[in-house]
């Protein structure tokens, strides 16, 4: 989102800086337009000799080549392609004539340079469209002035403007002149039915670099004079450093020095291997200064809190206690999940060069502005001294919202006065995490005359509680007596957001519970959900609830239809539907028994995310989210003993692999509504869908993740 007038000096300076520091983006890459579905390296328009700058997003070259800046960090959600597609659509250029550059952090020019909450597309939508449409407007205005006609009499196709007599002017020909015009405040946008780029699959703009092994990631950074650092951190949470011995480390070839900062010691080396070996050779004495927590303690505390009401409930409709007292039957179930590491394939890392003049930071970060803020405080430097550049990220999943690694790199560079690349090993990555907190949910339901009369949800969660309007999620609004209590339990284990925070486990718990409840009430699971939605719509209880009952019902019906739910015969299907991150998703899992062992064969998925920007990329997010959800529900197992993580690499932590990934069939609700995000919403329902299908196949209900621990059947 742009905030200022684009024709200030700061814009020019910013672009110069951006180009100088990011020159490799244009010149060093195989220079490729964004054409889709063709073999790599096909140049459509020549490299311009002059670039004309229009706003924080668009430059147009004298050859007609268009450069679009992508403002947000790319973690694999594909916004580096999808966001520029939105700009290009309203600008009315051919996608093959577009190149994309990653914008650096610039808080004057862009708002919300964040990858998180599945919000990039949703929150960027109007601004990105306006950015393209405004530039289109002044290009048309310039052409109209040249021809002495009205702007309304000009037409444009693929960056070529024509007038009623058939004369033509290309964007490249008039870009220099047009770039001197003032941009309008706001212009009319296209009718979505006219879209030519949005709605078409466009290949990932970094694809050629990825498949040919170009250095796109933070771990790949290599700069003049740069040294490598690996850091020894406390082996357990709640420990501090008493003393360390670096004698052995310093004998290793390539190790330059060691440096202590806080309770950590960095080994500085000429190359990665020496830094890794040096770190291993350090010995240290540690002292436990805070509680050494373990998993049994975590579980005990969760259960203790679930038995209590919170001082302030998060939502109350009616009175659940009276309803429970009057109920024919009260059903209660508890669901529990462990802490989880993020395990991005690219371990945490960051480059920092702290000098007297400036601080250069570069690497994989979902929140570059926070990085700048923190380093400004740590080093006591003006924010204007600190440049942050974003590399493509080898996964994020929430871990890279927290720039502890960027802070470390900056601190080390300032201590050693050299440019440094800080590298986590996989072991560092898994043991120095900001984990998905362990949590537990208790559902207590009263049944009266065959209907639900009361619904009481209690949450126990480490270092947090469900945010925003989540307490008013489904089935809120459909039940007369409804209450949500949340308990925040403090832990010294560092925790944070993990793909689809809260929803990533709550969705399973709720949807597995509703499945069990439908059985108790002798109702079809799909019909049961639709009845509740119908009630919420026709006769809502209490204050506004946090979903659109019609949209929710639509995805449920679509998933039921496409999966053949009502004609399932002996097939073992499990149903699940969940609304999170502004997107509606329903999933049906199909489980087959093969020699007594349940196999997850297929997932049917129905999604309402508004208009789909880039269909193939959307499917990637949807399928990835589902398989990720299945993987962590099935296998994600992480524990602590005496404050120490018990898994530190993939031989002790199971991630889902190709042979466990089912076939996925996705159906979109056709829509011209504004788009919502897809990075997270398909993950939450996956655990519930497979749990409910596994019940259908095996008769066993699951209450704890990972399921594999409770299954003697599956290995």
């Amino acid at each position: 989102m742009t905030k200022n007038n684009p024709y200030t000096n700061s814009r020019r300076d910013f672009l110069k800086w951006g180009m100088a520091s990011g020159a490799g983006l244009v010149v060093g890459f195989n220079f490729i337009g964004c054409q889709s579905d063709t073999a790599p390296v096909e140049i459509m328009k020549a490299m311009p000799s002059v670039w004309n700058e229009f706003d924080a997003y668009i430059k147009i070259g004298d050859t007609g080549l268009v450069s679009i800046f992508s403002q947000n960090p790319e973690i694999g959600q594909n916004i580096k392609t999808s966001m520029p597609m939105i700009v290009a659509e309203e600008l009315d250029v051919a996608w093959r004539d577009v190149i994309v550059e990653q914008a650096p952090l610039n808080t004057d020019w862009y708002e919300r340079q964040v990858a998180g909450g599945s919000q990039s597309i949703r929150q960027g939508w109007t601004t990105l469209r306006q950015a393209g449409a405004k530039v289109r407007h002044i290009l048309l205005k310039t052409a109209a002035q040249k021809w002495g006609i009205n702007i309304e009499d000009c037409k444009v196709k693929d960056g070529v403007i024509s007038n009623p007599t058939g004369e033509q002017l290309s964007y490249g020909e008039i870009a220099a002149e047009a770039s001197q015009q003032t941009l309008p405040e706001e212009v009319e946008l296209k009718d979505p039915k006219e879209f030519k780029i949005i709605g078409q699959s466009k290949k990932n703009v970094d694809l050629n670099g990825i498949v040919t092994g170009q250095p796109l990631f933070g771990y790949d950074i290599k700069k003049e004079g740069m040294v490598h650092a690996c850091v020894m951190r406390p082996p357990a949470f709640g420990m501090e450093l008493v003393a360390f011995d670096d004698t052995a480390a310093k004998t290793i070839n390539g190790v330059i020095e060691t440096v202590k900062f806080g309770d950590k010691v960095a080994v500085i080396a000429e190359n990665t291997w020496a830094a890794m070996k040096g770190k291993k050779a350090l010995t240290a004495e540690w002292k436990q200064v805070e509680k050494a927590e373990d998993s049994a303690y975590h579980s005990e505390q969760l259960m203790l809190h679930l038995s209590k009401k919170a001082d302030e409930p998060r939502r109350v409709d009616g009175d659940v206690d009276i309803a429970f007292a009057e109920a024919d039957e009260v059903i209660e179930r508890i669901y529990e999940a462990p802490f989880l590491p993020h395990n991005c394939m690219e371990p945490m890392n960051f480059y920092a060069n702290v000098t007297e003049d400036k601080v250069e930071l570069e690497g994989p970060i979902q929140t570059p502005a926070w990085q700048q803020d923190r380093v400004s405080k740590i080093l006591d430097r003006e924010k204007s001294d600190i440049n942050v550049k974003m590399t493509r990220m080898g996964g994020g999943f929430g871990r890279r919202l927290y720039g502890d690694f960027g802070d470390e790199a900056a601190e080390i560079s300032s201590l050693i006065n050299k440019p440094v690349k800080l590298l986590f090993t996989r072991e560092d990555d898994m043991t120095a995490g900001t984990y998905r907190p362990a949590s537990a949910y208790r559902f207590k339901v009263g049944i009266k005359d065959g209907e639900i009369s009361a619904y009481h949800l209690t949450e126990a969660f480490y270092n947090g509680m469900m945010f925003g309007q989540m307490p008013s999620n489904f089935p809120c609004g459909a039940i007369t007596n409804y209450r949500v209590d949340c308990h925040n339990i403090k832990s010294n284990i560092t925790t944070g957001a993990w793909r689809a925070p809260y929803a990533n486990f709550l969705a399973f718990a709720e949807q597995a519970f509703l499945d069990e409840l439908s059985g108790i009430l002798d109702k079809d699971p799909v019909e049961f959900r639709l009845e509740l939605l119908d009630k919420a719509k026709s006769d809502p209880v209490g204050e506004k609830y946090n979903y659109d009952a019609d949209k929710f019902a639509s995805v449920i019906k679509l998933a039921a239809e496409k999966s053949g739910w009502y004609n399932r015969g002996n097939k073992h299907l499990g149903f699940c539907a969940y609304y999170s991150h502004n997107t509606y998703v329903a999933e049906v899992a199909e489980v087959e028994l093969s020699e007594g062992e349940p196999i997850i064969k297929k997932i049917y998925c129905a999604v309402d995310c508004g208009i789909v920007i880039n269909p193939k990329a959307a499917l990637n997010q949807i399928e990835g989210g589902i398989i990720d959800g299945i993987g962590h529900a099935m296998y994600g197992d992480f524990s602590f003993a005496k404050g120490q993580p018990q898994s530190d690499n993939y031989n002790k932590y199971r991630l889902i692999r190709m042979m466990e990934a089912p076939e996925i069939e996705t159906h979109f609700v056709e829509s011209y509504n504004d788009p919502t995000g897809l990075g997270e919403p398909t993950l939450p329902p996956a655990g519930g869908a497979i749990a409910n299908a596994l019940f259908s196949a095996t008769g066993k209900r699951f209450y704890k993740q990972p399921f594999v621990k409770e299954m003697s059947l599956l290995g």
């Binding site: 290599k222 394939m345 692999r657």
Partner: protein
């Protein structure tokens, strides 16, 4: 530090490295071939997969002292113009999400296709079992390998 001359992507390269240095770091740090990725360091994830005399191997667990005369191929040397059938299929199917593991995935699949031009689904799944994709692009990887096997 000892010197080694190794054969990488058709060219002899002389490097200085400690004898226990995994080939992965020689490729990345000494030879600036950053396409081969570090994921786990213990041959569990496949991100560092290269070809050693045509066989897919984990470069994180192969010390430089054991490389000898064997011919090393990395993702950068898989094809001259980035047009190996798998690279083309990866483009057509728009496989990558974050992209970090994909060079390892492609190298594992390329070794399979060089020996077995028409692998079955089961053969693909078995071969690719050692390569983790945290973004879970597995459905697309499988489709792309099948498509490339028909090219």
């Amino acid at each position: 530090m000892p010197q080694y001359t190794i054969h990488v992507n058709g060219q002899p390269k002389t490097v200085e490295a400690d004898s226990d240095t995994p080939l992965l770091w020689v490729l990345r740090d000494n030879l600036s071939l950053a396409g081969t990725k570090y994921g786990c360091g213990i041959a569990q994830c496949g991100a560092c997969t290269i070809h050693v005399d045509g066989n897919a191997m984990r470069s994180c667990s192969l010390p430089i002292s054991k490389v000898g005369d064997q011919k090393i191929t990395t993702i950068e040397g898989l094809s001259e113009n980035g047009d190996h059938p798998l690279q083309k299929a990866w483009a057509t199917h728009d496989v990558p999400q974050c992209g970090y593991c994909q060079s390892g995935q492609i190298m594992t699949a390329a070794a399979l296709l060089s020996k077995n031009k028409r692998p079955s689904d089961d053969e693909i799944i078995e071969t690719m079992h050692g390569n983790i994709c945290r973004c879970a692009s597995y459905t697309k990887i499988k489709e792309a390998i099948k498509a490339a096997s028909k090219l």
